[in-house]
């Protein structure tokens, strides 16, 4: 491939993505200005962009951003360690899997966030309440995807391991676990989505912490443009986590 063709292939997706986003904002702006969308429900994108400076300067956005990101990171690390370990144990001990898998799957759809009063009783009105709700709500997809990934290791790869006389421990660490990594990462991605939603949701509900609390305050002040600007920072947290996760996955599984 020639150098211009290569750079074209590299640049085309972000350019198209950015272009589509700008077109979308222009369309929303036009619809609001034309009166099709009520500006008291959705503020014009130009107002949201203009409010960024105010939100950054007046609302201590950096610290709030870091607090929400730290809560998400803590919940993410906990759910990766506990979720993957739980999934491995459940896959390994069939009795445990048969006993718990249905409950774990049911937990995935349970509105854990509504149990925030209980968590506040246990952990107080603190970051730990937010982290623990984010962690527990996000645990099921990591456990379930870990079970699926390890169980789905191709039979022939197991047979290769057996033909080389691998011990069960070697078979797990050298074959089953790396083979399951793409599926485990799908679980971690889903888990992080659940964690972020719950972290911001609980911050909003208990009016404590980072971006969720800021969204709550701005909404109460009926600062719609500021509210949407703060939501953009939540999206930024999400983007940062997904980019880091993708890098981690590429490091562990360079090519599939």
């Amino acid at each position: 491939m020639s150098a211009p063709a290569y750079s074209h292939r590299l640049l085309a997706p972000p350019v198209v993505g950015l272009g589509a986003l700008i077109l979308f904002f222009l369309a929303v702006e036009a619809l609001i200005r034309g009166g099709v969308i009520n500006r008291f429900i959705v503020p014009p994108p130009s107002e949201i962009i203009a409010s960024f400076e105010r939100v950054i300067v007046e609302e201590d956005i950096l610290n709030r951003f870091l607090l929400t990101a730290t809560e998400c990171l803590t919940a993410g690390v906990m759910l990766t360690v506990c979720g993957v370990t739980g999934g491995v144990l459940m896959q390994r001990y069939q009795l445990l899997q048969r006993a718990c898998e249905t409950w774990v799957a049911a937990m995935a759809s349970a509105p854990i966030v509504l149990m925030y009063p209980l968590f506040m009783v246990i952990f107080g009105r603190s970051a730990w309440t937010i982290i623990m709700i984010g962690f527990i709500a996000a645990l099921p997809p990591v456990i379930l995807k870990t079970i699926e990934g390890i169980s789905g290791t191709r039979r022939v790869l197991i047979n290769v391991g057996r033909s080389f006389n691998l011990t069960p421990r070697q078979l797990f660490w050298k074959i089953q676990f790396p083979a399951a990594l793409p599926t485990i990462f799908v679980g971690i991605r889903l888990g992080l989505i659940f964690a972020l939603i719950n972290v911001v949701g609980v911050e909003f509900l208990i009016n404590f912490g980072g971006l969720g609390q800021l969204i709550n305050e701005l909404a109460e002040r009926y600062d719609l443009a500021g509210t949407y600007a703060a939501i953009c920072f939540v999206i930024l947290v999400s983007v940062l986590f997904f980019m880091s996760l993708e890098k981690a996955e590429r490091w562990l599984r360079p090519v599939d």
Partner: protein, 285 residues
């Protein structure tokens, strides 16, 4: 070759020379329709340095026999011995190459081939050097740092072969390793296997349903019957060595293929009729 110009009926390898002996192997599977005998009293011997192919129609128990000899299937009757030692599971003297794509997609070609060396604790520099030797042997030098996903099917099978050879097995056991490849690639890879086998004097047992492949490479071909899988005939292949895929154009090659096909045709027809009967018993979906 007999005096009449007909291919000769084969004889078993002299047990004194045999490195691999399978003795009265019987495998039964329980199915909802009752027990099925997949392999019925199969005995075979393979001499050191010999290339033996086992050929049979689909469903005759070839792969079951592969799993028994490789130690992956334990619920069987009979005995498998390697250099006089009875084996009851996977054995370090037997290296297996599988029909399905079996490279590790998360490892480079070099790391795939170095895998068995890593297991025995060989230092990194030494195993890299050793792995490179086997990569060159299968003709993949220059691809050491590629991942299997970047290679063609034939190249990936060569990586699997190099990985197995790197463990330096006394016996190379292959289950239709080129089944998923096109005919031309299959013939060329057959050349590569022949070249390696002759270079390393590698004892090889090939399971296949491809007559051309079996005749091209083997010293003897063991023909199996359709279910239950028994030994129907053993054919000595007296084609001159060293061989290449050019041998497929010779008259003698054609006669061997014809003889084996005449044995197989009856079995394959029986298998087809059996499958049709089973399909008729199944309710339409």
């Amino acid at each position: 070759m007999s005096a009449t110009g007909k291919p000769m009926e084969g004889r078993e390898a002299n047990p004194a020379d045999a490195i691999l002996v399978a003795d009265d192997i019987v495998v039964r599977f329980e199915t909802p329709e009752g027990p099925v005998i997949a392999v019925d009293n199969i005995s075979l011997t393979v001499a050191a340095g010999e290339f033996l192919s086992v050929i049979g129609p689909s469903g005759c128990g070839k792969s079951t026999l592969f799993n028994v000899i490789g130690g992956l299937l334990s619920n069987h009757q009979g005995r498998v011995t390697v250099a006089g030692e009875t084996i009851s599971g996977p054995h370090k003297s037997i290296g297996m190459v599988f029909q399905e794509e079996s490279t590790f997609p998360w490892r480079t070609v070099l790391d795939n081939v170095a895998f068995p060396l890593e297991l025995v604790g060989m230092p990194k520099a030494q195993r890299g050097e050793r792995a490179r030797h086997f990569i060159a042997l299968v003709g993949l030098d220059g691809f050491e740092n590629r991942y299997p996903g970047e290679l063609s099917g034939g190249m990936r099978q060569r990586v699997s072969l190099a990985r197995t050879l790197a463990s330096e097995p006394k016996i190379l056991l292959m289950d239709e390793p080129f089944a998923a490849l096109d005919e031309q690639t299959r013939l060329l890879l057959g050349d590569k296997v022949l070249q390696i086998q002759q270079q390393l004097k590698q004892t090889t047992l090939l399971i296949t349903h491809n007559i051309t492949e079996a005749v091209q490479m083997s010293d003897r071909v063991l023909v199996m019957t359709y279910r239950p899988g028994k030994v129907k005939r053993v054919v000595d292949i007296k084609l001159p060595r060293p061989r290449t895929s050019e041998v497929v154009g010779s008259d003698l090659f054609g006669r061997y293929v014809a003889q084996i096909w005449s044995d197989l045709r009856e079995e394959a027809s029986r298998g087809m009729r059996d499958e049709e009967a089973h399909a008729l018993q199944e309710p339409p979906s």
